[in-house]
Point group: C2
Chain length 199, copies 2
């Protein structure tokens, strides 16, 4: 009936993700994207709609393949305490090998796009809630099996862990130093340790 596409939609979307991830929303032009994706602007608009819609697709793709994937791999496959530690170790490792200096696209979106765009604010906040929930489930399970301290509420522990993740991702983008990032998580892990007793 009609002429078929000459490209794979997911493949070019991934290329868009990588560029948005590294350069952000405002600093990326449609012409930049066309070059990186190997398409003309007409093909981009035909396939993804306008720039904002493409960014939305890119962000969703990123979230599914980073946070979403990570939670899925660890939860259930690891004891809760190890799941938390694995989550942090992977984020620190990712941050240290991030030579493109892209940081975390979700955190970047939280600061560049979300504050003045209600839709993106909702999307970003929703992901952060999911990460917090993951931490809370881990902490609750760890408190039950005795691998995580129950001196603090699971709610507060999850909140703190969420804050640490975000702090790591900000720090990593201007000071990607191993000693700094690894030293940062040590006290958090100590706080998880059971057996600490108030004076």
């Amino acid at each position: 009936m009609a002429r078929p596409r000459e490209f794979d939609e997911e493949a070019v979307l991934l290329l868009a993700v990588e560029h948005f991830w590294e350069h952000g929303y405002e600093a990326t032009s449609i012409r930049d994207l066309a070059e990186v994706m190997g398409l003309t602007s007409a093909s981009i608009y035909n396939t993804f709609g306008d720039k904002r819609s493409l960014y939305r697709r890119a962000l969703d793709f990123y979230v599914d393949h980073s946070f979403g994937d990570r939670v899925g791999r660890f939860e259930g496959n690891l004891p809760p305490r190890q799941a938390v530690e694995a989550f942090f170790n992977e984020i620190v490792a990712r941050s240290l090998e991030d030579t493109k200096r892209g940081g975390c696209m979700l955190v970047n979106s939280a600061l560049e796009v979300a504050p003045h765009d209600p839709e993106f604010q909702r999307v970003v906040a929703n992901v952060l809630v999911h990460v917090e929930d993951f931490f809370r489930r881990c902490v609750e399970a760890g408190q039950r099996d005795g691998t995580i301290s129950n001196r603090q509420s699971a709610d507060d522990m999850a909140r703190m862990l969420l804050g640490m993740v975000l702090g790591i991702r900000v720090l990593a983008r201007t000071r990607p130093e191993r000693a700094l990032l690894e030293g940062l998580v040590r006290p958090a892990f100590v706080l998880l340790d059971p057996g600490s007793v108030a004076p």
Copy 2:
């Protein structure tokens, strides 16, 4: 000899700070700034040079009047443990009353400008080092006077506190919820408590 300026340089710089702070670098145009500052673009270029130089001046101004001011007010005037707590309490309070959703201009710069601009990377990293040093001095002093636990090294404690600050400022921009931010800092304060003993 010559016609004098019709405006106060510091006053209009503050107006530029407020706009950059809320909207970021890329999304702010010279025309936006001219309107906000009540100047023509020619006056802006005469006084501050190009857009990037003005942003640099604005960021320096912001840092001096937020982090710099805060460290100066607390260190020396408060016992070390209280200095840390006051620092966090003020940041949480600021974040919750931040109706403009500007977040922290330094964190914004760390993610938008610094990654691809060596000069700004150096500036931002330098400020973060100063904040970390402030925390380290507080922890060391607190460990000496017995108000802060010495189970963790002052280096690691300072790193964690720095990470928490950045995490709060990111979270506050998409989820400015009191329970979240206040719950986030509670475990950190518990970690500071002396008297906790390993099992």
